[in-house]
């Protein structure tokens, strides 16, 4: 395991300005699954992501080389159609991908798609989850994924497909 440090600040007003969170992250081994472990209709254990902070959005901007100011410049973003800073849709897509690779226990998917329905703003808390759509006799597994915000709005839905060992 290779642990890493992810500089993280408290930005939700719960602490005086200038407080850092403990940024040490432990990497983890994700156990593999076989198609026989899965059944259609099975729920993907939900996890939460957030509250999304401006700093996280800026990290994603830097990591993805997407510097559209609507994602980091409040003055610009207020005048744009978004009416304020919004997260990259692709950042939410990455969370859907994580939901799929964590649940299936394989980093290798054969397909991943997303449909973007609502924007994510700083402070939003997302719940990632979904269900197993189908399990084929050849080990092909299809998942339905979703990201929902704290207001119950669907932010994005997705589909993941992977070929797992049959047993």
């Amino acid at each position: 395991m290779r642990d890493y440090y992810d500089d993280t600040w408290i930005e939700d007003g719960s602490q005086p300005i200038g407080y850092r969170k403990d940024g040490w992250r432990k990497t983890r081994a994700v156990p593999g699954k076989a198609a026989k472990d899965l059944r259609a209709g099975m729920d993907i254990p939900a996890f939460t992501q957030g509250p999304v902070t401006r700093t996280e959005i800026v990290k994603y901007a830097a990591a993805s080389w997407d510097f559209n100011p609507v994602h980091h410049d409040e003055t610009f973003a207020k005048q744009a159609r978004s009416g304020g800073i919004i997260a990259h849709g692709m950042m939410i897509f990455a969370y859907l991908g994580r939901a799929a690779t964590d649940f299936l226990g394989t980093p290798t998917l054969s397909k991943l798609s997303a449909r973007f329905m609502n924007v994510t703003r700083p402070g939003d808390v997302l719940t990632l989850g979904g269900q197993v759509e189908s399990v084929g006799a050849d080990g092909t597994v299809i998942l339905h994924l979703s990201a929902t915000n704290q207001k119950g709005e669907t932010v994005a839905t997705g589909v993941a497909q992977a070929s797992l060992p049959v047993s």
């Binding site: 994700v30 997407d66 950042m91 980093p107 449909r115």
Partner: protein, 142 residues
């Protein structure tokens, strides 16, 4: 303004890049990804998270849309599909071009008439074998 269907088939120039281990880890950190397969220091075994390849294309879709005479700011990113032909890993040397795959009109129940543009990117490795096919749908209200 109706989008001219003659732009179907228009393509960006071909772009080239190398998948770097440090960039994979920076990307993994930015999405809260702690799965050890995206963090190994064994560079020959380091895989990229599923949506990683998007970083190489940031801004280039908008550039192609501008080249086609479209106002890219009108368009919203509606759908995104990635087909993986093989795993993407550290050290891969890639080439890719973005192509206008289709232009359509649609009428939304609430939003009224819309223009839809589908961009397709075929990502290949250094021997020309396909790595990923990416299809993105952009939507603009009239």
């Amino acid at each position: 303004m109706t989008v001219d269907r003659n732009i179907i088939g228009r393509s960006s120039p071909e772009f080239f890049c190398t998948v770097e281990a440090g960039k994979i880890k920076e990307f993994a950190a930015s999405i809260g990804e702690t799965n050890a397969v995206f963090w190994t220091d064994d560079e020959s075994a380091l895989l990229a998270p599923p949506t990683f390849s998007h970083i190489f294309r940031s801004g280039k879709m908008e550039l192609l849309m501008s080249d086609c005479g479209l106002d890219a700011t009108r368009f919203l990113h509606g759908e995104h599909e990635i087909e993986f032909h093989r795993p993407l890993k550290s050290g891969d040397r890639l080439s890719y071009a973005i192509r206008v795959a289709d232009v359509r009109e649609a009428t939304g129940k609430r939003s009224g008439p819309m223009d839809i543009i589908i961009l397709e990117t075929l990502v290949k490795d250094d021997v020309g074998a396909p790595v990923q096919t990416i299809r993105q749908t952009f939507v603009a209200k009239r």
